[in-house]
């Protein structure tokens, strides 16, 4: 029985093995009927082979192996005794399978053809649409030239709606510039506090609130040194607006103080002796700087205390001098202290030192 025959794909165009250049005519008697096409007299050959193999079997009692080269490669087939009964039945099944294979192939080819034609149809349709559009354009141009006023295209309700939605979305997107913005979530609201100081936008902080059963903070990104729990305890249950406003004040003031200290360090690091000492909330700043008076330099030590956490200006500015020359420089110290208390730190520094330079 042939085991490998059907597994090898056939070359699509070789309808008969006679046309196949690789197979010579002398091999014909060795070919199992399975290799031959329907056009051949397979039954005849089958019987002949059967007889042969039977005789062969009776002769040797052994299997014969004959190699049949195909166009694709070498195949070794084993001829088993083909008798009637199971083996004959199997051969019949094989033949059926072979037929089905052929049919399937045909179908595939037809499908391929169909696809090709469909693609062609699409192409042609696209071409037609293009040409149609061109024609219309030409017609329109002709009409325009003739001076016929065409109706202005009425925007469809759809486009109006889309435009409205886009503009609202854009509005929501830039709403954060107001400082407090929010978005409804599944269980509540998520507020975003965007902080700024004198025109510079700085960090954004989020508070995620749950509405039911009572207003509660689910999670937040507020820094841990801001007294969020205290503010929440006081205002969250009663007046959310006030809560947000107070929290926003705290955050903006903190960010403002931090910004001032950073600016001072960045721009006036040469004026400051040593380092600027600060803390997490930036509500206590200590630093030293030199002042000159009567051609002598003195070291001033400044302690800026920001007692009110919602303000970004210090409540106290204590200036001390090391050598007790404070009595001489009392006026200058007072002026400096005043400047620090009323103007932003880096600006105050600017004023003091640029003013002095202009004086000198």
């Amino acid at each position: 029985m042939l085991l490998y025959g059907e597994a090898w794909p056939r070359m699509p165009d070789t309808e008969s093995l006679q046309d196949c250049p690789c197979v010579g005519p002398t091999r014909e008697p060795d070919l199992h009927p399975g290799f031959m096409e329907e056009e051949r007299n397979s039954d005849e050959k089958e019987n002949a082979l059967q007889e042969r193999s039977l005789s062969a079997a009776s002769r040797d009692g052994e299997l014969q192996i004959s190699a049949v080269p195909l166009a694709q490669g070498k195949v070794e087939e084993r001829k088993v005794y083909s008798g009637d009964g199971v083996l004959g039945y199997l051969e019949m099944l094989e033949a059926q399978a072979h037929e089905l294979g052929l049919k399937q192939e045909e179908k595939e080819q037809q499908e391929k053809k169909l696809d090709r034609l469909k693609a062609r149809v699409q192409e042609l349709r696209a071409q037609r649409d293009e040409l149609r559009a061109k024609v219309e354009l030409q017609e329109k141009r002709l009409l325009d030239k003739e001076g016929v006023v065409t109706d202005p295209a009425k925007p469809s309700a759809q486009t109006v709606l889309e435009w409205k939605m886009k503009s609202i979305k854009a509005m929501l997107q830039i709403f954060y510039l107001t400082g407090i913005s929010g978005k409804l979530t599944k269980h509540g609201v998520c507020f975003c506090i965007s902080t700024a100081y004198e025109g510079t936008y700085l960090d954004s902080y989020y508070v995620d609130l749950l509405i039911k059963p009572e207003v509660k903070i689910q999670r937040h990104s507020v820094p841990v040194f801001i007294p969020l729990e205290q503010i929440a305890k006081k205002y969250l249950q009663t007046d959310i607006r006030r809560f947000l406003s107070v929290l926003s004040d705290h955050l903006n003031a903190y960010v403002g103080r931090r910004h001032q200290a950073d600016q001072l360090e960045e721009h006036f690091s040469d004026r400051i002796e040593g380092t600027l000492q600060r803390n997490s909330l930036c509500n206590l700043l200590v630093f030293n700087y030199n002042v000159s008076s009567n051609n002598k330099t003195f070291l001033f030590n400044v302690r800026l205390l920001y007692g009110d956490l919602c303000r970004s200006l210090p409540t106290e500015a204590i200036i001390s001098c090391e050598t007790g020359a404070l009595s001489l420089l009392a006026e200058m110290a007072a002026a400096h202290s005043d400047a620090f208390r009323h103007v932003a730190l880096h600006k105050a520094f600017n004023l003091l030192f640029n003013a002095k330079e202009s004086q000198d």
């Binding site: 709403f175 913005s181 841990v224 206590l284």
Partner: protein, 410 residues
């Protein structure tokens, strides 16, 4: 009076009296010690007990400073811990040795030799204990992940604004600790992110501080969280906590169930600096859509499922990097729930069981469980609540009600 332990197993007592440091050998065989000391080029005073030695020393006997050797040995061992390629950078940050001195060290030799060169230079420049402690702080600041850090939470009841002054804090802390235990070495260093590093070397009422038995405290001003890497001597922990509470104007302190090697991740968790997914109207960052191969020939059968998992993961974990934790431990004291027919346990006692998840990066691995197909999304809230609840030790007990279930308790 200070007790010093010289290297060769001799006990030495050093006294400073009017600028002279006397070395006294107190050991069973005084003669032997004397011999050794002489070998080292030290003059020695031998006495039977401390008092006589002191008397002898205060009379102006000359001696040799051996305190230096302890310090230089400590510095040498600290330098040995640093990876070779980074020794130069660390020493520059330390700033004790000048650039010229650093140039003389050959950094291509073995670490052992480098450490000896550094020790030599430090001895020549008379490094003191404060410099050595500073080097240790710098080393631990650069490599904090070598220690295990626990987080402590402080409470206060007052509402007044806290004007935190670093100088005051240092003074109060030192005073409180030294009022109970004088034999400690305390050093402070402040960093730009308002982190205060405190190094404490513990002694006992009778012995000098052991520089190798140190505790570290990291505290950010005006926050209620303290990060402590305790040393072996847990007995000093109450004193340390007391001093912290006093110096930072809080009322009490308790240990949180949060522990890890990675200090920065612990900070991220308690300071809420990790990426939480907040819903906003404006697109802050572009959510990366599942951009995989855009090859149109490949069809993803599970696309909707994948997207669902991705969305749920994003809700639970956010889309930024996760804080790095080493483990999560769950202690279960729940009843074993089985078919009543198979009466596994005769006594209805809670089944005690400990489940520990360990990983080099626990939260990232949990985040990748669902996309990898190893677990169903959404993950159990017991796993996803770790950064939110700021804990990685859990105790799960039975809920004492009619409904079956379990609840998480502190």
């Amino acid at each position: 009076m200070m007790f010093l332990c010289a290297e060769r197993g001799l006990w030495g007592v050093g006294l400073i009296s009017r600028g002279t440091l006397g070395v006294v050998a107190i050991s069973p065989s005084a003669g032997h010690s004397f011999g050794c000391l002489q070998e080292l080029g030290w003059g020695a005073v031998i006495g039977e007990n401390i008092q006589t030695c002191c008397q002898l020393c205060t009379h102006g006997t000359s001696g040799v400073l051996i305190m230096d050797e302890v310090i230089t040995e400590y510095i040498r061992r600290t330098v040995l811990k640093i990876p070779r390629d980074e020794i130069m950078a660390v020493l520059q940050k330390w700033g004790f040795l000048s650039e010229a001195q650093l140039q003389t060290i050959n950094f291509r030799q073995t670490k052992e030799s480098i450490s000896h060169s550094v020790a030599q230079l430090c001895e020549e420049s008379s490094a003191n204990i404060k410099q050595a402690a500073l080097l240790d702080i710098i080393y631990n600041h650069i490599y904090p992940n070598k220690r295990v850090w626990s987080v402590y939470h402080m409470n206060k009841t007052g509402e007044e604004t806290d004007l935190f002054d670093f100088r005051d804090f240092k003074k109060k802390f030192r005073r409180r600790i030294q009022s109970a235990l004088i034999n400690v070495t305390i050093n402070f260093r402040e960093y730009e992110d308002n982190a205060i590093w405190i190094r404490i070397a513990w002694g006992t009422p009778y012995t000098k501080p052991n520089q190798y038995k140190t505790s570290y405290v990291v505290y950010h001003s005006q926050t209620p969280y303290v990060f402590i890497s305790a040393s072996v001597l847990r007995s000093n922990l109450p004193l340390l906590c007391q001093a912290l509470v006093f110096a930072s104007n809080y009322h009490d302190i308790r240990e949180m169930e949060l522990r890890s090697h990675c200090l920065n991740s612990l900070k991220d968790i308690v300071f809420k600096r990790y990426s939480q997914n907040f819903q906003t109207n404006y697109p802050q960052q572009e959510r990366n859509v599942l951009t995989e191969n855009v090859d149109l020939r490949i069809n993803d059968e599970n696309r909707s499922e994948k997207e669902r998992i991705h969305r749920l993961n994003l809700e639970c974990f956010g889309d930024g990097p996760q804080p790095k934790l080493d483990f999560a431990q769950y202690k279960l004291e729940t009843m074993f729930k089985s078919d009543p027919r198979w009466d596994v346990l005769e006594k209805k006692e809670p089944f005690r069981c400990l489940v520990k998840f360990s990983s080099p990066h626990l939260l990232e691995s949990l985040k990748s469980l669902a996309p990898a197909g190893l677990a169903d999304a959404p993950l159990s809230p017991l796993l996803t609540c770790i950064p939110q609840k700021a804990r990685n030790y859990f105790k799960i007990r039975e809920k004492k009600s009619l409904l079956p279930g379990s609840f998480v308790s502190p």
